[in-house]
């Protein structure tokens, strides 16, 4: 399948336009991490970016979040150029990002409190969200008293309570064990199907990407990583992650994408070894 349209239809939730990420190295020579990446996520669309380790996929996410400014190129959010932080996006980080000095309930409520919601109301709504992610009775626990999976649930509630129009996820389930990942994936799909936000989901796990998303975007190995493939996922929703992996269409797509990805993974390894 060829590259999908790179020109942004007006009003796409996220449109990365020829984004270049470059740094100046310690010795002064420029280093291009990502080279002219263009990508659109339509409103309500679930897009996964897959690429070998170190290809700059998390960097693209940070650019969509407004945490980083691209060296060249631009970002449009719902048709308007992004300037500063992306206020319409919620970001679920790979590493632990909960406030360790706040309880689970306070962690979830904080996003509303910063927006000016009164504390009592914020906490009530936070409790409702904790219940939705299955942690209704864990509100008074501090993050260190929760398991990795439970912390991710709190993180999900923390982000979703603000009802962002765009959800950015950076290998959010990476550190979890396979079982928990599957449960979290199903929880995510469940929550997402309620109001279908635009999702940009970064992962290095192709199976996870196909099982969750509407479109899978493949990045090449860095440096100067590019987007080298864009596939639609022809699987019906609602999906159950463990069942969808048995679908023949899943396997066909997996084989097709893996064919492209494999070469890049090997290239990435070769560079890492050579470095």
């Amino acid at each position: 399948m060829a590259l999908a349209a790179t020109t942004s239809p007006n009003g796409a939730a996220v449109a990365l336009k020829d984004v270049v990420v470059a740094f100046r190295m310690a010795r002064g020579e420029p280093f291009t991490a990502v080279d002219r990446a263009s990508l659109t996520v339509a409103d309500g669309e679930f897009v996964a970016i897959v690429g070998p380790t170190g290809c700059g996929k998390s960097t693209l996410l940070n650019i969509a979040a407004g945490l980083l400014t691209p060296f060249a190129g631009g970002v449009d959010i719902f048709g308007a150029p992004l300037d500063g932080l992306n206020r319409q996006a919620g970001y679920l980080f790979q590493a632990d990002a909960l406030f360790p000095w706040k309880t689970a309930l306070e962690n979830v409520a904080i996003g509303l409190e910063t927006a000016g919601v009164a504390q009592t109301e914020a906490r009530e709504r936070a409790h409702a969200w904790l219940t939705r992610v299955g942690l209704g009775s864990f509100g008074d626990r501090y993050p260190h008293m929760l398991s990795g999976g439970q912390r991710k649930r709190v993180g999900l509630a923390q982000v979703l309570i603000r009802d962002p129009k765009i959800l950015l996820m950076d290998e959010p389930f990476g550190p979890l064990d396979a079982q928990t990942r599957q449960i979290m994936g199903n929880l995510l799909l469940d929550l997402w199907s309620a109001d279908r936000k635009a999702v940009l989901f970064v992962t290095h796990d192709l199976e996870e990407a196909i099982a969750l998303s509407d479109r899978v975007v493949i990045m090449s190995a860095g440096p100067a990583a590019r987007i080298i493939g864009d596939w639609k996922v022809p699987l019906a929703r609602p999906r159950d992650i463990s069942e969808v992996k048995l679908d023949p269409a899943f396997h066909a797509l997996h084989r097709e994408i893996w064919h492209t990805l494999k070469a890049e993974v090997l290239k990435g390894y070769a560079q890492a070894e050579g470095a």
């Binding site: 979040a65 945490l67 932080l85 206020r87 996006a89 919620g90 970001y91 980080f93 590493a95 632990d96 990002a97 909960l98 406030f99 360790p100 000095w101 706040k102 309880t103 904080i110 996003g111 910063t114 927006a115 501090y142 993050p143 260190h144 008293m145 929760l146 398991s147 990795g148 923390q158 982000v159 603000r162």
Partner: protein, 262 residues
Amino acid sequence: MNRLTLISLQILVAVAALAIWHVLTTYPVFGRILLPPFFFSNPFEVAQQVVTWFATGVIWKHLWVTLLESVLAFVLGSIGGVLVGFWFARQPRTAAVFDPYVKMVNALPRVVLAPIFTLWLGLGIWSKVALGVTLVFFIVFFNVYQGIKEVSPTVLANARMLGMNERQLMRHVYWPSALSWMFSSLHTSVGFAVVGAVVGEYLGAAAGLGYLIQQAEGVFDVAGVFAGMFVLAAFVIVIDTLVTVVEKRLLVWRPAVGDQRP
């Protein structure tokens, strides 16, 4: 080891130490007394002195003065440390400019400042408070500075994505982080506040535990010196216990060592 055995053993250590002290200062071993009472006194005389102090009530005034000086030194030093720590951590340029001077002052043994403080502030409590402040300030300052610098970048990015403005970042991220670092050094800084007070008193004062010890030493009253040391040790233990209680209350969110879940 259960609690009862532990306490019994702890008491046993004290009893044994006192017994050895008593025996060596009272009974000759191989024809001579190993610890001459003139230099080492003995447990009974020291106990007697302590009891007299408390019975007559002389000690309360000195305890109160030392406590007041320590608390003032701790509070003022902490406030200063927190303010300057925040300021430097948020203004890297200011921090860079002042860096060599901060290091210079911190490297200075604080005892040499005592005569200057006495000269400037007199023999009253404030010269001791000043000495304590110079000790407490740097501990709190370095910890607050570190606490703000070491905020996890992910937590910070998360806070910004959750819509926090600069003031909310201060309140919900920087302040708790700095506070946790400051509290981890609470025992040290409280200890130094007491050290500042006692050393200051020892070098020139009209009241306080340090003064009491110095007075006893001046008339070769070894029992008085030891008695003063015991009261001081008990005083420090009481304060340290209070600090532990406060710490446990304020840092409930922190995992106990070895309690960290994966």
